[in-house]
Symmetry: C2
């Protein structure tokens, strides 16, 4: 059956009809007053979403391009950075830093475990020579469904006095509270196909005043990712390079919908979906992959003991046209991931749980209590 696909992956996430329709308009000139009005408005909307006074810059690119821009615009060759690594995206920022010749100290945690804020505090306090120029970490680690304690770690960075906090908020922004200014985050990177409820293709970077000071010293080579060019253009409600005009139409519409819902409601919805999904999986006897208390509001990773996660995922797709995400790298076949990020309603979570239960039953893999997952989810959704 065509056109019945439901995305329950951590991106691309489902897109509202309103946003698709806005995106489907004929493009306009990107140097026109009409387009400048869109840049002006979306820039304000993005400030609201980031809870910041800083300018949020948008570029044609993925979340990785935004994070790379954030890193290479505030650092210089040979600089020491402290990277948190407890999953595929943590690993990625280590690789980006290394690709640019930075000295990388890594604070690791096992996949499925959160980063330990104390390890950051210790490393930062030990750095009396102030060699560490930045701490790079992922807020919601998409590969494992773990949320890291960005607020606490950012406070330790603040106490260090010199280092900047560069945060990958790709799957946390628009899912849970990320008050950039209140937490003192210096660089926040994100991507459009996540909490933004729109298709992929736009990356976002917000930088604090301290980050812009560091930009003035940065000597890493860049041109397309040179955020100074974006800032200069943004001051004139414009872009340095041809922006993805139709994705801007989508952005404006999506942020308008988000503003109508309100940040608190959006965060409460994601939190409710996290609770409902986790409760359902437990009721079905399927262990969560993220350690207790550290599950992301955007994504729940499940490690179904003794069941091939990839087969289960494929059956859910074949039978019910719901796309779940698989495990990445060494987790392939061991983990499946349920995205509950962005334009996801209570109904979607209930449906996904029901579909997983029905599939387990059809495969003879259920624990004999089919329906328990839906019942548990329903309790949490009703709270």
């Amino acid at each position: 059956m065509q056109d019945k696909l439901t995305l329950m992956i951590p991106g691309p996430t489902p897109v509202p009809e309103t946003v698709l329709k806005a995106m489907g308009r004929h493009p306009i000139g990107h140097r026109s007053a009409d387009f400048q009005a869109i840049v002006k408005r979306t820039t304000e909307q993005l400030r609201w979403l980031h809870q910041t006074e800083s300018t949020v810059l948008a570029m044609a690119g993925s979340g990785t391009s935004a994070m790379e821009a954030g890193i290479i615009n505030v650092l210089s060759k040979g600089d020491t950075v402290l990277c948190g690594d407890n999953g595929k995206f943590g690993e990625r920022w280590v690789k980006v830093a290394q690709a640019y010749g930075l000295q990388v100290q890594v604070i690791k945690a096992e996949w499925g475990q959160p980063l330990d804020p104390e390890a950051f505090r210790t490393a930062l306090e030990a750095d009396t020579g102030k060699a560490i120029k930045a701490v790079i970490l992922t807020h919601s680690e998409t590969s494992t469904g773990v949320i890291n304690d960005l607020q606490t770690i950012a406070a330790h960075v603040k106490a260090h006095g010199t280092a900047l906090t560069i945060a990958d908020c790709v799957t946390s922004l628009g899912a849970c509270n990320v008050p950039m200014d209140a937490w003192g985050l210096d660089v926040v990177g994100s991507g459009s196909q996540k909490g933004y409820m729109m298709p992929p293709g736009l990356g976002f970077v917000a930088m604090s005043d301290r980050a812009w000071e560091a930009y003035g010293r940065s000597d890493l080579p860049k041109f397309y990712l040179d955020l100074g060019k974006y800032r200069k253009s943004a001051a004139q409600d414009s872009n340095p390079f041809t922006p993805p005009v139709n994705l801007y139409f989508a952005l404006e519409a999506a942020l308008e919908m988000m503003q109508a819902e309100g940040l608190d409601n959006i965060f409460a919805r994601h939190e409710r979906h996290r609770r409902a999904t986790q409760a359902a999986m437990k009721a079905m006897g399927l262990p969560l992959y993220a350690s207790e208390g550290h599950g992301s509001p955007a994504i729940t990773a499940v490690a179904p003991n003794g069941i091939d996660a990839e087969s289960l995922r494929k059956e859910v797709k074949n039978r019910f046209d719901i796309l779940l995400a698989g495990g990445q790298d060494h987790l392939k076949g061991k983990v499946f991931r349920i995205g509950h990020l962005g334009f996801v309603a209570d109904r979607d979570v209930l449906t996904a749980v029901a579909a997983i239960e029905a599939t387990l039953q059809a495969l003879g893999l259920d624990s004999g209590s089919t329906g328990a997952g839906v019942a548990a989810a329903a309790v949490e959704l009703a709270r």
Copy 2:
């Protein structure tokens, strides 16, 4: 009046309804078999468009991101490059090369004049030590409406034996013949909002085998723009980072339309529009900015002596909702530019000419022979 805008700028160019509709579908998972099928198909279509056996890589980004990727993936720090500069985009590649610490030799021509192939031959023949690693130039210089003789210059580079040809084909690909393999082009960069008849947001880079050999030696730092990652993923019909899924839908539909029209017909159409536009401007007494015989098939720049080009452009927009492009940098107010690139029909060219004539008459700036432009265009369109 809403929704009546006609784009006659060199990008974003008009987008067919078929392409907009394809783009407006709900996104699908970018790691799904359905999406892999789209990558596989569009990769073949892109080979057709580039007339190459090489793989053409696509990334979320602008034409500049594609060109920067082409440059930084085949060169190393301190390498000498020869850059052609006869307009804003020629200038831009000089800046990109300098940003990465390359030694840049510039061959300049006045804005409005083509690059002199002999100057390239002389410089390349003088380089007996084979210091020049690449020649970077723009095929169709969007800022001035000049087409450079890429074929001849590429042949001189070939004769050099070592240097690579890196060509900005952003406004030539899909407008005129750019047979990558036959001309021996090593790197070809382009962007979606031009001849591709789709919205901005996708950049394309094709690289020859020689370019990939140079990639193996390249030491310039990169991660998001590291084309090796794209090549590895492309071999599996995939992308290293989340691709702009909806723009891929548009790409598939647009390239299907282009294949139905056929390369020869597409090139003949652009050539007809170039002739018709040039003839019309001459008939109206408006001097062309590009020197005789070197006008681009994608864009005609006009320098209306004694008339403020910016006022004329704005009046055409206000009266007839046709968006022409202004002059860039020092040409602002002195030049306006008519884009006839991509999804442009004979009717659009005739309409633009008529609208310019009508506006000049309304402003009392006509030469007393209103209608002469349309008549001249009609002759060329009927040939």
